[in-house]
């Protein structure tokens, strides 16, 4: 009996924090989103806030803006990341490149990634300066605004910059652990390198790439800093919108903010579930 309880006892401290702060934070958000906020006299449980928010045009445009940013940046990061991993593997300077790519995303936080994009892409950034000096554009204003723009180019590129090394390291680790014999057999049987890549290596890395995709998608979907720093006034990314609603001095407005938070959470819970599924896929390949 004592032996059976041991793992639960060992997990207790971490679970106290997870349940006490993380889960109860989400539960509190849920309760407030249902209109129960006794501090300001809201005591009726109602779905009215959900109805209002979920049919609100500005909410829907924020939701699609957030989904679009996360999806686009994650797909670009995945493609470039795989390309980078594969080319490092084929190069003869593996060690040094590995080190750079591994350290980069760890030491540079998202807000700094936003600054990097601002330094390069804004209308007074280094890129328009270079184009001007090459004679491609003749004035500052000819350069399209890529920061604070409603296509979210600046936000997307900041995420891409941050996520390429992450994807590259995930893929690189798997690629370098894949038995060379598989590729050799295929080559011996007459496959060319391209065929080996698309028919042998790609299927093997796909499950891990999928779970990495989920992680970067979820992260960029729920993160506040980058869209707050580089985003347009409209549409706003969902986390930024949630914060702006939260900041409303009228506290009876609070449930609106919490409905947005619950939408963020709901989508991320679906993503956790998908992540879980992808792990089953990975273990299938391992076996």
């Amino acid at each position: 009996m004592k032996r059976n309880l041991k793992p639960y006892v060992l997990l207790l401290p971490v679970m106290l924090v997870i349940l006490g702060i993380f889960v109860s934070g989400l539960v509190m958000a849920l309760i407030q989103s249902l209109g129960y906020f006794p501090v300001v006299g809201l005591k009726d449980i109602t779905l009215k806030y959900y109805k209002e928010v979920l049919t609100d045009k500005s909410f829907l445009s924020s939701l699609s803006f957030s989904l679009y940013i996360s999806f686009t940046s994650s797909i670009i990061a995945i493609i470039v990341g795989i390309l980078l991993a594969y080319s490092i593997l084929r190069s003869n300077k593996k060690e040094r490149m590995e080190q750079i790519v591994y350290k980069l995303p760890i030491i540079v936080p998202h807000a700094v990634a936003a600054l990097l994009m601002y330094n390069v892409l804004s209308q007074s950034g280094i890129l328009p300066r270079i184009l001007y000096n090459m004679g491609i554009i003749s004035s500052q204003s000819e350069f399209p605004s890529l920061i604070f723009d409603n296509r979210g180019i600046g936000i997307i590129l900041a995420y891409v910059w941050k996520e390429i090394p992450f994807i590259a390291m995930v893929v690189y680790t798997i690629l370098s652990n894949i038995n060379d014999k598989l590729s050799e057999v295929a080559l011996n049987l007459g496959a060319n390198k391209r065929q080996v890549f698309f028919h042998i290596l790609l299927p093997l890395i796909m499950p891990s790439v999928f779970s990495a995709f989920i992680i970067i998608f979820a992260f960029s979907f729920g993160a506040f800093e980058v869209p707050y720093l580089l985003g347009p006034t409209a549409p706003k990314a969902l986390p930024v919108k949630a914060y702006i609603e939260y900041n409303n001095p009228d506290l009876t407005h609070r449930p609106y903010s919490m409905v947005i938070n619950m939408s963020l959470t709901f989508i991320s819970i679906i993503l956790v579930w998908l992540y879980h599924k992808s792990f089953k896929l990975i273990s299938k390949y391992d076996g």
Binding site: K103, N119, R129, A212
Partner: protein, 271 residues
């Protein structure tokens, strides 16, 4: 044979181009930190200077004090997180039990579920408990996103080392405390160092949680840096970012060297 060489040249070019695109913005950041005057449309600054750096290091700016405070806060977070992660990792790494999958998912969830929702949800409770705007409140909030990294890395370590050594010690008459301090701790210490460095950096880079729960009373280095980025003050923002990056890098390199002395640490991914 010739064709092979051409192919590998192709991939080398691709590799260097991507690495260049990743590093180029950092070079610009570096140059901005030492710039005095850089008007449009110059590609290189008109004049270099140390104005921004001098400001950061001047006693009136409080930046160094804040940096030290941040290091202290993140160290506290690191120690507490490691402390609670060790037993959890042991449970997940060594034992089979009911609900293990659910526990694993719960521990991973803070990476995926937006911290924005969690912080706003818990804020009122923290105000009521007197934890808002306090050091302890911010530390508690930082622990949440750190747990997934701590537990996952240490779980791998426990999976590798197994339980046999501890069992031997127990059979030979060591009590649980002795077993922990003389057997378990030395065996997991390289893992502790890499988990610790990652946790430190996660805590060091927190913005929203510190901002909301700290309520402007608890000011970390990141909080000083953020307004400069927000207002587009390139010179100041670049200097602060550079100091931030260097602090993380120094910590990271020192730790990597320490860990390599034990064994070649596996790479742990961080987003």
């Amino acid at each position: 044979m010739k064709k092979m060489k051409k192919r590998s040249l192709f991939f080398t070019v691709i590799m260097y181009s991507i690495i260049f695109l990743l590093l180029f913005p950092l070079v610009i950041l570096f140059v901005w930190s030492f710039t005095k005057n850089w008007p449009w449309p110059n590609i290189v600054p008109k004049a270099f200077g140390l104005r921004a750096i001098k400001y950061v290091f001047s006693p009136t700016s409080k930046s160094l004090k804040t940096l030290l405070f941040s290091v202290w806060l993140s160290s506290v977070v690191t120690i507490i997180t490691l402390f609670i992660s060790i037993p959890a990792a042991k449970a997940l790494g060594l034992y089979k039990f009911k609900g293990k999958r659910l526990f694993k998912l719960l521990i991973l969830a803070p990476i995926i579920v937006p911290p924005v929702a969690v912080s706003m949800g818990i804020h009122v409770t923290f105000i009521r408990l007197g934890l808002a705007n306090t050091f302890l409140g911010v530390v508690l909030m930082h622990i949440i996103p750190c747990i997934p990294y701590g537990v996952r890395i240490l779980t791998n370590v426990f999976e590798i080392i197994g339980e046999s050594m501890e069992m031997q010690a127990r059979v030979l008459g060591a009590n649980p405390y002795k077993t922990f301090f003389y057997i378990t701790l030395p065996m997991i210490s390289p893992g502790l160092v890499s988990a610790g460095s990652l946790i430190f950096i996660v805590s060091f880079s927190q913005y929203f949680t510190t901002f909301l729960i700290g309520g402007g009373k608890i000011v970390t280095f990141f909080m000083l840096m953020f307004p400069y980025i927000q207002s587009g003050d390139r010179m100041m923002a670049s200097v602060y970012s550079l100091i931030f990056i260097l602090t993380s890098l120094v910590l990271f390199v020192v730790i990597e060297k320490t860990v390599k002395a034990y064994y070649k640490a596996e790479n742990y991914f961080y987003i």
